[in-house]
């Protein structure tokens, strides 16, 4: 067992974990953060994308021990409970999901993309989402959602202020 201490969605956590435990397993099984999903487990699909120190990574391709001392943000920590991040809002508005399985990873990668490049072209969006697979939408509405979020000035630091009625 190895001792790890890290920040997940703003909260300090510490645990003893097996060195072979993947970050995605740690998030889901130890912390109950099941918003982050496993789509392929071969590091292809991007469904497990989270931010590690503010940059997107595939959490099935990182060991929990490698996150020791670092800061993780999952889809669950993107906005205050009860509110949506501007990117989540844009996915909702643009109908950028059908089954929704790829969505947590798509949104985390799209936020990263705009952090790097606040005004991407359509090509840059498609390239920037190259590591995220969607079996349903055909990607068009996902691209539109990212364009809409870019137009609204979405970044990690600006969760949408508007509350969503439950």
């Amino acid at each position: 067992m190895a001792r790890i201490e890290l920040t997940v969605d703003g909260a300090q956590v510490s645990d003893d974990v097996e060195p072979r435990m993947l970050l995605v397993q740690y998030l889901r099984e130890k912390l109950g953060k099941t918003g982050t999903v496993i789509g392929c487990d071969t590091s292809n699909c991007g469904a497990c994308t989270v931010h590690l120190d503010g940059r997107s990574v595939k959490s099935c391709n990182v060991l929990a021990v490698q996150a020791n001392g670092h800061e993780v943000t999952t889809i669950e920590g993107l906005a205050e409970p009860g509110s949506l991040h501007a990117m989540q809002e844009a996915f909702h508005e643009c109908h950028a999901l059908q089954c929704g399985f790829c969505t947590p990873g798509m949104i985390m990668q799209s936020v990263d993309l705009l952090n790097d490049n606040p005004n991407p072209s359509e090509d840059e969006i498609r390239n920037g989402l190259e590591g995220n697979l969607c079996r349903c939408t055909g990607y068009h509405n996902i691209v539109r959602a990212v364009q809409a979020a870019a137009a609204a000035g979405a970044t990690t630091a600006q969760p949408a202020a508007e509350k969503v009625e439950a």
């Binding site: 072979r20 993947l22 990182v62 021990v65």
Partner: protein
Amino acid sequence: MIPAKFDYLAATSVEEALSALSQSDDAKVIAGGQSLLPVLRMRLNAPDLLVDIGGIDTLKEIRDDGDSIVIGAMAPYYEILANDAVKNSLGLLHKAISEVADPQIRHRGTLGGALVHADPAGDCGAPVLALDGELVIAGQGGERTVAAVDFFEDLFTTAVGEDELLTHIRIPKYDGWGSNYQKFVRVAHQWPIVAVGAAVKTDGGTISEARIGLVNMGSTALRARATEQALVGREATVDGVREACDLAAEGANPPSDLNGDADYRRHLATVLTRRAVLAAAGG
């Protein structure tokens, strides 16, 4: 899929990593882990000990050293891409790295890790070879420097010994050279079926020097030396370079697989070399 059990050491210095490596018979170094973790998860390898060098900050530096650029083995692709000296003086490497996998993997993956992994289909080996890179390898007896041409020994096999650690990559600057990287894939996010990287120096429309690296054309990264020599003095036009580029696969021993047989790859290498050379010569 979960890796088999292993012990784990988060090394805080090169010395600590080397001493751990020398004390274990079956240790593996993990840098960014973007190639190693899939291997461990599929249980194609199951080392007793993983030595994590991710916490050794001295291995993350990217330094302009006058005539050359020095890249630490733990520098992630993302940081290399953001570095202006790399962009300006090592255009070919910069272009190849921008084609590695996807953004998430470029955030974690490292040039050093990819070079030691030595997958002949990896994007980075051939550019480092073509640009006459040097690899600095640390062992308990001290440091040694190996030229890229002696570094890649075979499929997934390099000059780095079991008790050693690649610490830095040093590549001479190619200021004023044009470069281009042609990666041929069927779908986005695939290993190249073949890729060709070219760095070309031109003088008034005539090629004066050329470096060509071939990806996935044999058991290691390769250099198309016959083409490099034949290009000297040629006009940078389709007809001017055609004959020289037709030699691109000379001496190569490409694999045959579902994506294409060896002859197809040889043909592809000549076509991609022509495209890469012309694009590089054009700026």
